[in-house]
Amino acid sequence: MTELNRRNFIRSASLATGSILFFSSCRNQTGGYLFFTGEEALCLIAFCEQIIPKDDSPGATDAGVIYYIDRQLSTIFQYDQETYRNGIRNLQGYCNKKFGKSFEKVDFAEQTKLLKQLENNKLQEIEWPLGRSSDFFNLVRSHTMQGFYGSPIHGGNKDYLSFRMLKIDYPLVIGQNRYRSL
C-alpha cells in the first residue's frame, strides 16, 4: 500500500464531512487574536517586521499583517497551525537560550542574522527540535507577503497602504475601478 500523507488525508476527510475540526491547541485568546496567544503574537509581529520592515513607508506591523495571519490560521490555513506553534516555540526557546531574551526583544540586526539561519536550515537539530526551520521561515515569509500586498478584506494591508506605496491606489485598483466597502 502506498503511503498517504495521513495527517492531510484525515484533515481533508474530516473537513469533507462538513465539520471544522480545530486542533486541541487552539483556544480563544485574549488580546484580540483568534489563534495566537499574546506572547506568540509579539514574536511573530517582530518576525513579519523583518520580512517587510518599515522604512520611508509603513511595514508589516503598521499593515496589521499579524491579523491577516491570525485570521487565516483560524480558518483556511488550519493545517499550518502546528507549524506556527512549533516554529514560534522553537524560535523563543533558541533566543532565550542564546540571548537570554525572547525574539522580539533581540536587536534588529541579530534578528536578521538569525532569520537567515532559519531560512537556510543552519541550526542544529538540538537548537531547532521540531520540524525544518526553512519550512517555518518560508511559510511566515509567504504569509507576510500575502498579508501586506493582498486585499485589506483579508485582515492585512491596512487602508491599502501597500497599494499607496506602489502608486496603484485609487482610482487604479485590482480587478475593477472602484473600492468595495470592507
Binding site: 498517504l4 500523507n5 469533507a16 483556511i76 500575502q146 500586498y149 497599494f163 496603484i168 487604479l172
Partner: protein
C-alpha cells in the same frame, strides 16, 4: 419524481460544452446542460488578488469548493498527497457556467496547420506519443470562423505572417497596443521578428449587444465588470436557452455515465443542488468537463462491456495529460514602462511556433497581462534578496519599471502522464477522486529555454538595463488551466478514445467535446480551439441525430 427523458445531455458548461449545447438546441434537440457550479456573479471577488482565478491562495473565486473536491498527486516515488484547489498542483478549472471563459485572459488563437500534424512535420519523438490528429486545420476552419463570430473575437490576422489561412476576417478590430507593447513592437521589428496585435475573445468595440472593453489592465483572472469579455456563458449558452430546448441545470455534479449491457449510454447519475442523488436519461451524452474531470468521469463509469471505464478498453483514457509550461523573460527599465491600459497583453509573436531548428513545435510570445502586488513579490532577478528592506525597495521602485514577455510552450505528450482514479480518497459525495501522476518529456525544458531566450532578446533590444529568463518545463505532470489530451482523437480504437468526431469508440451515443480530445495543446492558449471543437462535434451530432438515434 423522475426527470423527464431528453435527447441530449452535456456535462460541463465551459468552452466546449456551452458551444455543443447551442449547436444541439438550435437544431431542435432537447438538451440538459449540466454544470456542477453556478452562474458566475461578478461582485463576489472583484478586486482581490488572493482569491482570483490566477492566484487561489485563499480560495477559488468560481469554485469548486476546496473542502469538498480533493485530488491526489502521486510523485515519482509513488508517494501520494492530497491536493485541493487552493494548495498547489491541483490543476483547477473554474466551476461555474462558462468555466474559465468567465475570467480568462481571453486570447483567441487559431492553431496553425502544423499543430494538427506534428508527427508528419517533425517526425516521431522518442519517448512521446506525439501523433497527427485525425482531422486537419482545414476541417476545423469553418468552426474557428463560427467561434470567432458567434462568441466574438477582436483581431487582424493580416498582420501576422504566420497566421493559418482563413476565409473570413475576425469580426472586431484589434485592440490598440499599450505603452510597453509599442516599445516591444519596435524592438522586435529591429530584430527581424513579426509582431502583431493579439487576437482576443473580447469586445474591442460594442458587439453582440454588449459593451466594449473598458481597458482594465488587471483583467486576466477576473470576471469583466462590463461584460465585454466573451465566454460561453454570455454568448452561446443564452442562445441555447432562448430556443426553449436547453435547460442549464446548475449545482449538479455528474458522477457516473450509465452504460447498459449492450454498450449504449443511457443517462447519468448526479447529485443535485440539495445533494440528492438523481438520474437523468437521454439518447446521447456529450462530456465536456475538461481533461481531468472528463477522464475521471469516464474512468468512474464502469459497465459490463467497459469494466475499466467508458471507452477505456485499451487504456487510453486519462493518458497524455498535458497543459502549457509558461516560459519567458523579464526586463528592468530606467523609466515607467508599465501603463494601466488593459487588457494588458496586446502584442504577440508567432515567429517561434514552428520550424525552429532543432525544436519540435515551439510557442507564441506576448507581453504579459497583469502586474499584481503579491505575485510581483516573486519577480526578482536571480540572486536578489527574498525578503527585508532590499526586497521591499525593489517592489516599490521597480513595480512600474518591469516588463515581461512570455508564452506557452507546445508540450510533448507522455503516455505515463495521466489521470487515474484513487480508490481510497473520495470527495464530499463519496466518489473516488482524480489522481495525477507522471512526468514531462525532457524536451519541454529544452524548448522552454529556447523560447525564453527569444523573449529575453526582445527585452534587451527594447532597452532593458537588466534582463533574466524565467524558464518553465520542469517537473510534471502538466495540467493547469490549459489541460488537454486525456481522451485523444484517433482513427484506431487501440490507441485513442474518440474518433474524428469526438465519438467514443464502441459507444456510439457518447461523445467528448473539450480539451481532452486534443492530441497536443499547440503553442497557443487553447480556448478558441476548444470552442471550435465544440462546433465540430456539436455540428456533427446535430446533422446526424434523427429523433431518438443517429442516422
Amino acid at each position: 419524481m423522475a426527470n423527464k427523458h431528453v435527447n441530449a445531455l452535456v456535462v460541463g458548461a465551459g468552452a466546449g460544452g456551452g458551444v455543443v449545447a447551442k449547436e444541439l438546441a438550435t437544431a431542435g434537440i432537447s438538451v440538459v446542460l449540466f454544470e456542477r457550479g453556478e452562474w458566475p456573479i461578478y461582485d463576489e471577488h472583484p478586486n482581490d488578488e488572493l482569491i482570483s482565478q490566477r492566484t487561489e491562495v485563499l480560495g477559488s473565486p468560481f469554485g469548486p469548493d476546496h473542502l469538498k473536491n480533493p485530488r491526489v498527486l502521486i510523485n515519482k516515488e509513488g508517494k501520494k498527497e492530497i491536493a485541493t484547489p487552493i494548495r498547489g498542483g491541483y490543476s483547477n478549472n473554474a466551476a461555474c457556467v462558462g468555466s474559465g471563459t468567465v475570467s480568462y485572459g481571453a486570447m483567441a488563437w487559431r492553431f496553425m496547420e502544423e499543430d494538427f500534424q506534428l508527427k508528419t512535420v517533425y517526425g516521431a519523438v522518442a519517448g512521446s506519443t506525439l501523433d497527427d490528429w485525425p482531422i486537419t486545420y482545414q476541417d476545423l476552419e469553418p468552426c474557428y470562423e463560427k467561434a470567432e463570430w458567434e462568441i466574438g473575437v477582436s483581431g487582424d490576422d493580416t498582420q501576422n505572417p504566420f497566421a493559418p489561412p482563413r476565409k473570413k476576417k475576425q469580426p472586431m478590430p484589434p485592440f490598440e497596443y499599450n505603452q510597453e507593447a509599442r516599445v516591444l513592437y519596435d524592438a522586435s521589428k529591429r530584430l527581424g521578428m513579426h509582431p502583431f496585435p493579439l487576437p482576443m475573445l473580447r469586445n474591442s468595440v460594442p458587439y453582440n449587444g454588449r459593451a466594449a472593453c473598458i481597458r482594465n489592465r488587471t483583467c486576466c483572472g477576473y470576471a469583466c465588470p462590463v461584460n465585454a469579455k466573451n465566454g460561453s456563458q454570455n454568448t452561446v449558452i443564452p442562445v441555447a436557452m432562448a430556443t426553449g430546448n436547453c435547460e442549464v441545470r446548475t449545482g449538479s455534479k455528474v458522477v457516473e455515465i450509465m452504460v447498459d449491457d449492450r454498450g449504449k449510454a443511457t443517462g447519468v447519475k448526479y447529485f443535485d443542488k440539495n445533494e440528492k442523488p438523481q438520474v437523468q436519461t437521454a439518447d446521447l451524452i456529450v462530456v465536456s468537463g475538461a481533461a481531468i474531470e472528463t477522464a475521471r468521469l469516464l474512468l468512474n463509469s464502469k459497465s459490463k462491456l467497459f469494466p475499466h471505464g467508458a471507452g477505456n478498453n485499451f487504456d487510453w483514457v486519462g493518458r497524455n495529460l498535458m497543459g502549457h509550461a509558461y516560459t519567458g523573460a523579464y526586463g528592468l527599465f530606467d523609466w515607467d514602462i508599465l501603463d494601466f491600459s488593459g487588457p494588458g497583453a496586446t502584442v504577440a509573436w508567432c515567429d517561434f511556433n514552428h520550424h525552429n531548428p532543432g525544436i519540435v513545435g515551439g510557442g507564441l510570445l506576448a507581453n504579459e497581462f497583469n502586474r499584481l502586488p503579491f505575485l510581483y513579490c516573486g519577480v526578482r532577478p536571480p540572486g536578489s534578496e527574498r525578503w527585508g528592506k532590499e526586497h521591499k525597495d525593489f517592489q516599490r521602485n521597480m513595480y512600474h519599471r518591469t516588463a515581461q514577455v512570455v508564452g506557452p510552450i507546445q508540450e510533448m505528450p507522455m503516455y505515463e502522464s495521466r489521470v487515474t482514479v484513487d480508490q481510497e480518497v473520495k470527495d464530499f459525495w463519496g466518489i473516488p477522486v482524480a489522481a495525477l501522476s507522471g512526468d514531462r518529456h525532457p524536451l519541454d525544458y529544452e524548448h522552454c529555454k529556447f523560447l525564453s531566450s527569444k523573449a529575453e532578446a526582445i527585452l534587451k533590444e527594447a532597452g532593458a538595463y537588466q534582463t533574466w529568463q524565467s524558464v518553465g518545463g520542469q517537473g510534471g505532470p502538466s495540467g493547469g488551466q490549459h489541460q488537454n489530451g486525456t481522451a485523444r482523437m484517433g482513427n484506431d480504437k487501440n490507441t485513442s478514445v474518440v474518433n474524428r468526431y469526438g465519438q467514443v469508440h464502441e459507444i456510439d451515443n457518447l461523445f467528448v467535446a473539450d480539451g481532452s480530445i486534443m492530441l497536443n495543446g499547440g503553442g497557443f492558449n487553447p480556448a478558441l480551439t476548444i470552442m471550435a471543437l465544440g462546433f465540430w462535434v456539436g455540428g456533427h451530432i446535430a446533422r446526424n441525430f434523427a429523433g431518438t438515434k443517429f442516422k
